[in-house]
């Protein structure tokens, strides 16, 4: 009888000790800041585990930290498990080290894929100015195509007529949408008379 209590006690102590090794009961945060994350799909790991999915923000930037806390003197090594589909690539600054205190210096920077925004122009007899928000371009008389600045994948675009040509009125079709995985080439400007 006595020995069975002892055995159970030993097993319990062992279990407690093992839990302590799991890393979930530390006191220190491991994280930092991120930039360029506008879509889900970015998952970070620490020493190959503790998966952390980064929630995108409207500006693409924010702070992040693993849900699992770490302990003083723990070695950490942050790596990518996956990246969002709309990035050219992502890099991690200060990915590894040994925790002395909370670690807020793991910086993740993603560069978004960019795509051309262009289209056709018909019957333009004067100078026209097009805008996609803060970006704008002057289209000379006689032009049959236009190019605005490249736009990041998954961001909206909206082409408007900032300045009409003299004595003509131009309209835009297919002028607005969300940039997909390819260049936008179907914006059509038609001028009359």
């Amino acid at each position: 009888m006595k020995s069975s209590y002892l055995r159970a006690g030993a097993a319990l102590a062992c279990a407690v000790a093992l839990t302590a090794c799991g890393g979930s009961d530390g006191q220190l945060q491991l994280g930092g800041q991120f930039v360029g994350v506008t879509k889900t799909g970015l998952v970070l790991t620490n020493n190959g585990g503790s998966d952390k999915a980064i929630t995108p923000t409207s500006t693409g930037s924010g702070n992040w930290a693993f849900d699992n806390l770490i302990s003083t003197d723990d070695r950490y090594n942050v790596e990518f498990k996956s990246k969002p589909s709309n990035v050219e690539d992502c890099v991690i600054e200060n990915p590894s080290g040994r925790a002395g205190y909370h670690v807020y210096t793991v910086y993740v920077t993603c560069t978004l894929k960019r795509h051309a925004l262009s289209g056709s122009v018909s019957n333009l007899k004067g100078e026209l100015q097009l805008a996609n928000g803060s970006d704008n371009v002057i289209v000379p008389a006689g032009a049959t195509t236009f190019n605005l600045a490249t736009v990041p994948e998954d961001s909206p675009y909206g082409v408007t007529i900032l300045r009409q040509p003299a004595n003509q009125t131009c309209t835009v079709s297919n002028g607005t949408g969300t940039v997909g995985p390819n260049a936008v080439t179907n914006v059509a400007i038609t001028c009359t008379p």
Binding site: A131, G133, S134, T176
Partner: protein, 213 residues
């Protein structure tokens, strides 16, 4: 005899010592610094009764260095502020820097004031009329953000107001389009595009009606 020689020597030494405190080699401090981000003319800095006009940099994007003509003496308090900001700009201590425009000459070996200027920005918005369904999303290009406009609550009549969260800087273009049409409706935008003047834009008119096939 001896003592009479010592006395004038002492007096001379004392005089020399006093001269050292006040005369030609006293500590003087130039009130100077740098300003980043200046684009437009019109800025005037002021401190200790001096006004100093500041012109934009010769090469766009470069910081502008300044130095007030009259030097300050040790212990003089200076407070370098903008009597006038550059046209269409606002200036302040750069973020993540400690304000250093108001201090005492001599506390640091050199005075080196830092300011950063940004371009004034204004909101764009307007009214939506005829909206009876959810789902309308307006966009200002690719970087100007989006705004979702929900259908008005019961009892609220259109037009209803909308505004973009992201402000548009002076002299920047903007262009508002319908990114997503409301369910079963079709909306068009009037006065949606222009070049930002120094005032809030509130005349963008979005008109919604049934889809015409």
């Amino acid at each position: 005899m001896k003592s009479s020689l010592i006395r004038p020597a002492l007096a001379l030494a004392l005089a020399a010592g006093l001269a050292g405190c006040g005369g030609s080699d006293k500590a003087e401090f130039v009130v100077k610094g740098t300003i980043s981000g200046i684009v437009y003319p019109g800025a005037v800095l002021t401190t200790n009764g001096m006004d100093l006009p500041i012109a934009p940099p010769a090469k766009a994007g470069d910081p502008v260095s300044f130095a007030f003509p009259n030097k300050l003496e040790y212990g003089d308090v200076y407070n370098v502020v903008f009597k006038a900001e550059p046209d269409n700009q606002f200036c302040s201590t750069p973020s993540q820097a400690i304000p250093n425009f108001n201090d005492t000459a001599g506390r640091l070996a050199e005075i080196n004031i830092t300011y950063a200027c940004g371009i004034d920005a204004y909101q764009i918005g307007g009214k939506v009329s005829g909206l009876t369904a959810d789902g309308l999303v307006l966009a200002n290009g690719s970087t100007g953000g989006t705004v979702a406009v929900a259908k008005p609550a019961a009892g609220v009549t259109t037009p209803i107001d909308f505004g973009f969260e992201a402000f548009v800087p002076y002299d920047s273009s903007y262009g508002v389009t319908v990114l997503t049409q409301p369910t079963g409706q079709f909306c068009t935008v009037a006065n949606g595009t222009g070049i930002m003047k120094a005032a809030t834009v509130s005349n963008i008119a979005v008109t919604c009606g049934p889809v015409v096939n």
